[in-house]
Each structure stands twice: as C-alpha cells, then as structure tokens.
Amino acid sequence: MLEIVFSDDVSYQLPYEYLRVYSPSADVSGHGPGQEVLQVGKKNVGITSLIPVGSYAVQINFDDGHDTGLYTWGYLYKLGKNQAALWQDYLDRLAAAGASREPRP
C-alpha cells in the first residue's frame, strides 16, 4: 500500500496492484485513449523503489520489472479521487476479457 498526502491535506491509500495496472506508461496506457493494454495477474506485485523525477512526478519501480511509468502529482491525485470507480472499471474489464488478477502459475 502506498499512502500519499497532498498539500491540501487529502490523503489516499493506493494498493500497489492498482498503481501497477493504471501505470501512465505507454506500455500500459498506450499513446492515447482506446490504446490501453489490459494488465493481468498483478495481484501480488510489489514496489522495489521510488525515484523522484524533477519536482513534478515520481517514477515507481515495480518488482515485475515495470519501471517506465512517471506518476505526476496530478495523476496520483486522480487515481486517489476516483479509486473506487477506476478499480471497478478494471475488474469489469478483467472479467470481460476472461482474465484474472491471480498471477499465472
């Protein structure tokens, strides 16, 4: 779980899996709407390190090797604010694709 507190004192708790499947990286989000690539089997994903990027974002390195997402403060705020809806949307898309959160054995 990653807890983030913003300057307006709003705080969100974001699970690693949620961050991972909503990575802003082009590998995950594509280069525009409609190009998203569904991430599956990330239930147990962990974070190995956080690297600050300038003064606007943080690069999250996941233990499955994914490290190309730069999470800007605004993006993290959005992930926090719409957590319930976005998570449900992810679960719906998983179900529609017949995929699972569980890692492949």
């Binding site: 779980m1 990653l2 807890e3 983030i4 507190v5 913003f6 300057s7 962990g46 974070i47 956080l50 690297i51 600050p52 990027v53 300038g54 003064s55 606007y56 974002a57 943080v58 800007t72 403060w73 993290l76």
Partner: protein, 364 residues
C-alpha cells in the same frame, strides 16, 4: 521615553522593503536587534543580492527608526545579503556547489536568450552574488563568445572540470571542449542529454548563489532532462513582442508548468527599436505582447529591453552590456530585472517544500 527590542521590531513592521514589497520583519530580514540606552543597533539581512541598494536601505531603516521611536539616540544599521538555497524534495540530487538554478528559456530561437542570460548573470554578480553560467545549448553554444572565453577547461582530479571564469562569472559550455568555431555537434538526443548531465554535475561549481542555465529553444530533450534531473528553482521566459514569437513562448511556459517548474517571469527582448541616428523609439515588433502574455498566465512581467545595436555588438565582442557600460540605461534595466528575479527566487526558496506530496510506502 524608553523602548526595547520589541518596539524596534514592531516599528520595522511598518516599513516596506521596496524590492520585496513586504515589511522587513515578515520578510525575516531583521537580525540582532540590540538596544543600549537610547542607542539601537541592528542588522538587515536581505535574501537577495542588492549591493547597489544597501546604502539606500540602510538610510531608509535609520530614518524610519528615528521617526518611529521617541527619544532614540544613535541608530546604526548594517545591511548585507545572503542568498538562501532552494529547498527541494528529499531524494533529488542537488548540484554540488549551487544554491539556486535559474533556467532562461524561450519557445523560439533567436529572441536573445543567450544575450539576456549572460547579462542577467552579470547583473546578479554586480549586485554581489556568486554566479555561474551553464550553456545548455549543445548544438549552438554561444556563451564562450559572449563571455570572451577561449581555451579548454582544466581538470585537477581527472574526473571533474574546473569552470572557466571571466568578468567574475564561472562558466561551462560544450563550446570549450570543441576545436574551432565551425565544428558542429552532430549528435542524437541521448548524446546531448548525456553531455548536459556531465556539464552540470561534473563541473566543480564553486559555492554559487545562482547558476543561470542558458537553454536552447524548444521543448524537447534538453529542457526535459533539465526538468527531471536537477532541482530547478525557477524559469525565466524570454520572448520578443511579435505574435509568432509569443506563440512559441506560451508553449515554453506551459512546458515548465507541466513539469512543475515555477515561472519567475517574462522578459521581453527587442521591445522597441531606438534609432542610433535620431534616438526615435519605435515598437517595430508590436507593443505590449509580453505584458499581455503575462496577464494571460498570471506571471510577472520582469522588464523589456530595447533592440539596440550596442547590446548585440558588446555581446558579440565578449563584453556584454552590463560590464561594457555598467552605468548605462540598458545595464540599469538588466540590473532591475536581475533584482526582481532574485527577490522572486528568494520567495520561492522559502515556500517550496510544501508543494510536494508526502509519500509513504507500507509493506503489508
């Protein structure tokens, strides 16, 4: 009637620093107030370099205290400046030996970024600050010519470079490493960003208050590397008044917003043309473009410079205007802009850390 230290402090609460537009007490400038009998001694420590106005401020504070405190005897005020380092996120690697980084940028080429950058750096130095210039324009370095520096930088330890110096500035540019004026850097993006990183981090900057970074035009590799790899205090946008330049300047400004770098303000170059024969002043590129952009984006208009043949001649000859004609009207404009930048940067340095969210990783 007697008075104590607190009375002196509260008297100074009513005195506004003409540069910061804040009173000296809330600007945290008043130090070491001592009252002995009827005499008062105190120090004013400014957060920005301002050698040229120290006397003015001393006289102002002394006169104010003499008026505000009844029965006061001798008032002695010492004024000095100390530039505070810019606060950064934890984890971001600071550039060693540098307190503040000021990026000078524009969307468009040829608007006078390098000329403005070097003159502003010299103006800050003239106000008593320790200043360096980093020429981040890898494809078209101009600072060696403008600063009148030739030769190659030396390395004492074989790993880092000593900055070149002239006119009291420390400088580093890719231009020092290449032979001849016509050798092009035929490089792809990754090479360029690598070179910038090395110029920045492997130069032994010596205790700088400000490092002025002269950026190339555009919103690409170099600008992004600078924004991501180093803690930039703020950016100054240079533009000319015509619409075609302003269009690109707006993009430059938006880029800095995207990467969380604050805009110090906008400098309008070539605002007016002054005829060298008759002295007639004309807005040949249009009037009020820079001001309008400032109003649109709610940023400060730092000042406007004329299109004057001397600025170009002096920069081309390695003696930029601020050192060639330090008391002239153009140098005065540069110095005024430099002071506005310094005041703004001092402000930013104080309230910067609050901008970052706190992140905690919990392993469950």
């Amino acid at each position: 009637m007697s008075f104590n230290e607190t009375d002196v402090q509260s008297a100074l609460k009513n005195l506004i620093d003409p540069n910061t537009k804040k009173d000296f007490v809330s600007g945290k400038s008043v130090k070491n107030v001592k009252v002995s009998g009827a005499d008062v001694t105190l120090e004013i420590l400014l957060g920005y370099p301002a050698k040229s106005v120290w006397d003015e401020i001393r006289a102002m504070v002394e006169a104010h205290l003499k008026g505000a405190l009844q029965g006061v005897g001798k008032v002695s005020v010492t004024v000095s400046s100390k530039v505070v380092p810019h606060a950064v996120q934890r984890g971001v690697k600071l550039v060693e030996g540098v307190k503040n980084i000021i990026a000078v940028a524009s969307g468009k080429g040829g608007v006078g970024k390098s000329t403005t950058a070097v003159n502003l750096a010299l103006a800050l130095a003239a106000e008593g600050a320790r200043v360096g210039v980093l020429d981040a324009d890898i494809y078209g370095p101009s600072q060696p010519t403008m600063l009148g520096i030739s030769g190659q930088p030396k390395s004492v330890d074989g790993k880092s470079l000593e900055p070149m110096t002239n006119h009291g500035l420390q400088a580093m540019s890719i231009g020092f490493m290449i032979d001849g004026d016509d050798t092009p850097m035929v490089w792809r993006g990754p090479m360029v960003t690598q070179a910038l990183d090395q110029l920045l981090h492997q130069t032994r900057w010596d205790n700088l208050d400000y490092l002025v970074v002269d950026l190339p035009p555009g919103t690409g590799d170099i600008q992004l590397t600078l924004a991501q790899k180093v803690p930039v205090t703020g950016a100054v946008i240079v533009t000319t008044p015509q619409d075609i330049a302003l269009m690109d300047a707006r993009k430059g400004l938006k880029m800095f917003e995207k990467v969380g770098i604050k805009i110090v303000g906008i400098v309008e170059n070539m605002s007016t043309h002054i005829c060298s024969k008759c002295g007639h002043e004309e807005h040949i590129f249009g009037a009020g473009g820079g001001e309008k952009m400032c109003a649109d984006y709610n940023v400060e208009f730092l000042g406007g410079l004329p299109l004057d043949i001397r600025i170009r001649e002096q920069a081309d000859s390695g003696n930029p205007t601020v050192v060639a004609d330090p008391d002239g009207t153009i140098a005065k404009v540069y110095k005024q802009i430099a002071r506005r930048i310094a005041v703004k940067v001092a402000d930013m340095a104080q309230d910067h850390s609050a901008a970052f969210p706190k992140i905690v990783v919990q392993n469950t």
